[in-house]
Amino acid sequence: MANIKELSARPEGLAPGHRLCGGCGASMAVRQVLMGRNDYEVVCGCATGCLEVSTTIYPDNAWNVPFIHNAFENAGATMSGVEAAFKGMQRAGKIPADKKLKFIAFGGDGGTYDIGLQSLSGAMERGHDLVYVCYDNGAYMNTGIQRSSATPKGAWATTSEVGKVMQGKPQARKDLTSIMAAHGIPYVAQATVGNWRDLVNKAEKAIAVDGPAFLNIMAPCPRGWRIPSAMTTEICRLAVNSKFWPLFEVENGKWKLTPVRDKNLISVTDFLKPQGRFKHLFKPGNEALLEEIQADVDAYWKYLEGRVEGSKDL
């Protein structure tokens, strides 16, 4: 992989001047993923969401690559169609047989974990040569911080409120990355925008692979997480070092987990505490909830170690 100096010299897929917030993880995810395209030409698509509305305000368009937005729940299906057009037209001799093109769909967690899950699952199952990238900021940020199935347990959101009888979202996050791995596709990975080397490396693999690939990228939303906009990458690293958001990949069925060094290991409360969306958890009476969240994180890490062990001989 190229070093950061070389990466920064690569042509930008997403131009400056878009209207995403300062510190938004979504634009960082797009830029880092597109740095991984190397010599491939790409066509990008996007589900309805912050990224789409902020980068395509007519008559402006921040995308330096061909771009399509269709609706909220169908980025997977829409990009399936774009990829199918390439294949069909190439077969009919309308596009040169040696032309290479890659297809990348972006969606937030709402458009991916929730409303777009069926469309994504279909696209992955059918084996399109398509990379689906979820920029996971853990809520419906575009409509004003409503909970999604990606919202962490205990997090405040405007539809998982904190009050006398409720302390944020009662349910745990859906493990979408494992669900995608269960599709048996050639490449699945989890990354963050704060671990750029790891992310660009994974994007390179995802784009180069012949067939479907899925990237789940933690892309913090300072507005929704109630953190300063300068903290985006730092909170990602706290997520990784607390094992809240493990970095892992599944390459042709083989699971690989990036370990957290002992000197870097922190507790999950160190990740939760800087975020205003979790501040109620630190009030007296919610100790058990914090313990439960830590136990969930530990159990998930053990589950991942089991997947690594179980697939080591593949």
Partner: protein, 396 residues
């Protein structure tokens, strides 16, 4: 020329599948639903046998079917699909988007009832739900017409002055599944007629990157955009007639926006869409033999609505009966009746109109019902009032 063509028996669905095979679109993305299934099954066999170069996408739902078609069309491909009933209803959001993004997709619809209660048989409840989505909508009366309409649809959709999606529809079971006498043109004749499709702003042209599906929320951009859509579909009527006549010239089979039978001197006229027109004409012939001046008018195109042609065909009648195969609940009139009344009113033509609903959920449409309508039209012209809408064939 026409008499040399081999006549054979086929269902409407077979004819639609063959029309699509002859056009050989770059992409078909489809999901099975009764009574459309034999179109997609037939097409998949063409793919399996290597008779087409189409990339066939076996999507996991109708919503994804049309979503993939939109992606493929924006990419620059010639695109086809087919659906019916709940499937068309499930596509509702994407119907608007396909038209708004000016994707010239051709979609066959096997017209069928909508739930609830669930019913798999023919009527127009599904397709009438698409009437305000911006799609051009054609109704076939026969399997042969389903074939011809499907071929003409590609030419109309992709016309640079139109660039709108087209629904080429045929009635569930009566036309989709019943065997009918048909003829087919040579593959090359069809290919020459539709020609090659070159998209104006294809996504796959990476040297000239474009954005499709932009966010037009500021100022009056959205409203201007919608205005161009209205202009496009209004102008499409002439384009449909032009390309339809061109196909008629090649095939020797007539193509009219409105099929008008016996209207030159008819006092009483039934206006009806699709397969039911055959019953109406058969009964009209019986009545003509008894000296009654009756006629039948059948729009072959419903969107854009051929209002002037309807007025021209109906303007000398004493009473008109409109038979709908769907209802518009809460409206005083069902969809076709609304259009006919609006056309007459706008033209300043004052003729009494009786509204009927028949054949919902595949209920039999009988000659006796047609006779009842003609009889009531005579009574209507004689000044006998009738209640607003009559459901034919049931004890109300």
């Amino acid at each position: 020329m026409a008499e040399e063509k081999k006549m054979f028996s086929a269902t409407g669905n077979q004819m639609v599948a063959d029309a699509m095979r002859q056009v050989d679109p770059d992409v078909m993305a489809a999901y099975p639903i009764t009574p459309q299934t034999t179109i997609v099954e037939g097409y998949d066999k063409f793919v399996a046998d290597g008779r087409v170069t189409t990339e066939y996408v076996n999507v996991e739902s109708e919503h994804s079917a049309l979503s993939a078609c939109i992606g493929a069309s924006a990419a620059g491909a010639r695109v086809a699909t087919a659906t019916s009933s709940q499937g068309l209803a499930f596509m509702w959001e994407e119907l608007h988007i396909a038209a708004g993004m000016r994707c010239p997709i051709v979609m066959a619809n096997a017209n069928r009832a909508l739930s609830a209660p669930i019913n798999i048989h023919g009527d127009h409840s599904d397709i009438m739900g698409a009437r305000d989505t911006g799609w051009i909508i054609m109704f076939a009366e026969t399997a042969q017409e389903a074939y011809d309409n499907t071929i003409v649809s590609f030419k109309v959709a992709e016309d640079p002055d139109v660039l709108l999606p087209v629904l080429t529809t045929l009635d569930g079971f009566v036309t989709t599944h019943a065997m009918d006498c048909c003829v087919m043109e040579e593959d090359q004749t069809v290919k020459d007629y539709v020609g090659e499709y070159h998209a104006k702003y294809p996504l796959l042209d990476t040297a000239n990157p474009v954005g499709h599906g932009m966010f037009a929320t500021l100022g009056d951009g959205y409203m201007k955009y919608k205005y161009t859509q209205r202009e496009a579909i209004e102008g499409a009527l002439d384009v449909i007639e032009k390309h339809g006549k061109e196909w008629a010239e090649i095939t020797g089979r007539p193509f009219d926006l409105v099929d008008a039978w016996g209207t030159e001197d008819a006092d009483y006229i039934i206006v009806v869409l699709g397969s039911c027109a055959g019953n109406a004409r058969f009964q009209a012939r019986q009545l003509r033999a008894q000296g009654k001046k009756v006629g039948v008018v059948r729009p072959r195109v419903f969107r854009p609505f051929p209002a002037q042609q309807i007025v021209d065909a109906c303007k000398n009648a004493k009473a008109i009966g409109v038979i709908d195969r769907s209802d518009s609940f809460g409206s005083a009139h069902a969809p076709l009746a609304l259009e006919v009344r609006s056309a007459l009113f706008s033209a300043g033509v004052q003729i009494p109109v009786n509204d009927y609903i028949a054949g919902l959920g595949g209920a039999d449409i009988t000659l006796a019902q047609m006779e009842q309508v003609f009889t009531e039209l005579e009574q209507c012209a004689a000044g006998e009032a009738k209640k607003s809408i009559t459901y034919l064939g049931i004890d109300e």
